[in-house]
Amino acid sequence: MMSDQDLSRRTFLKVAGVTAALAASGGVPEGLFASEKRFARFPEKTDLIVLTSRPPQLETPMSHFRDLITPNESLFVRWHLANIPTSVDLNTWRLKVGGNTEKELQLSMEDLRKFEKVTYTAVIQCSGNSRSFFEPRVAGGQWEHGAMGNVTWSGARMKDILSMAGIKAGSVDVSFDGLDRPPLPTVPDFIKSLAIDKATEDDIIIAYEMNGVPLTMLNGFPARLIVPGWYATYWVKALSEIVVHTKTYEEFWMKPAYRIPDNACGCVPPGTTPKKTVPIHRMTTRSFVIAPAEKAELKKNVPVEIMGIAFSGGYSIRDVIVSVDAGKSWREASLGDDKGRYSWRQWFFPWRPQKPGTYTLMAKATNSIGESQPFEGLWNPAGYLWNKVEKTPVTVR
């Protein structure tokens, strides 16, 4: 097996700013690579931040979130197992559906497209988005806020597919496997499960299009599960097999992986271990200032429109309040187009800074069932659910 070292001659990597310049001059200081952001362009993707390369975990820079819809080439990438699909032939690809069902199905892409086509916009967000802000720090993908995006998905209802197969009595869970395979046989295959009642909800679809075109390979071509409102760990990519189970399905990626403390906040005192855990599920409520960007320089007495985004785990955004003085005073932002309860909502806030100085911009969203954001980050050992009110410092000259 080739190691990363052997491949170094064929490297193509664009490293950000200072690191690239230093590397070109042969003078990269010890350890600089570890802390600097690395960028690379993967197939069907624009330049994204590389967390890991094999398998790829690629993060979207915040500036891409100015758009209501995240372009396919900008959307983050997160795989678990190194053997990811790099070639799929739709002539032979089939989605198997079986287990505790009347029939076993072998659906081709043509078959999938025959089911009623459902389209909606939904935020996709990695469970570990923003993990790098946890204190004390925790191991795992060190995402900033870019493991998210807002995409219009189209596909077939899971419910329709399962009813074609015929769910038999006594069904409890449904598991989802993709084409990605473990690098060694000892590594647990990436398989996720949903309770049968969840899997047959109206809005759970198997998507074969993102933003109106087939999925990119790195985002799960030819089809992936969409569980809107829930973290993307369930949105299994490059689906190959769906199995209905008569028992709770609890292999590695359901237990002990991807669990949160079993309490209202999904949190424990920093550095401690929860007594009881449950599988991670619905997303917490979040909001971000997108423009002006962090550390932007503004001119006094020149009006700017602060804009950002807000979303929650499947409940529409009721309001977003904004502060330009580090949380001392707050006013309500106006909300942009409503693309449904799974989409993020843009918000806008006109501002005319009158005095030079440093300002801290903050936004806080509340959803239709009153869920909002804490001012301090909540902690859990795996680095999930992060949703504190963020601070965006800017300078006025």
């Binding site: 362009r41 890991t52 739709l90 191991a139 690098p183």
Partner: protein, 105 residues
Amino acid sequence: MKSIFALVVIILAISFESVGAGDNLKTISLPQVNVELREGDGKAKTVTLCAVCHSLDYITTQPALTRAQWTGTMNKMIKVMGAPISEEDAGIITGYLTKQYGSGN
């Protein structure tokens, strides 16, 4: 000359994302990204044994972890993922990670 060749390789790598064969076959080729670990005792073993299942940036992009956290990660790789690493080598690698990528406690 060498750099022109490299550039051609890059362009091929990027453009290799087409759908061919009656639009039913889709193939991509992944770029190779180089990762250099810090110099130190145990580096060679770490490079050989930790790159079996994934790239070494899994190590370099971690925050400065405590000895307990690196030991926990090593245990996960060996006991859960089945990394074929002897106890002796595990000790050497944990020492290397704690020294080069550790928080100092």
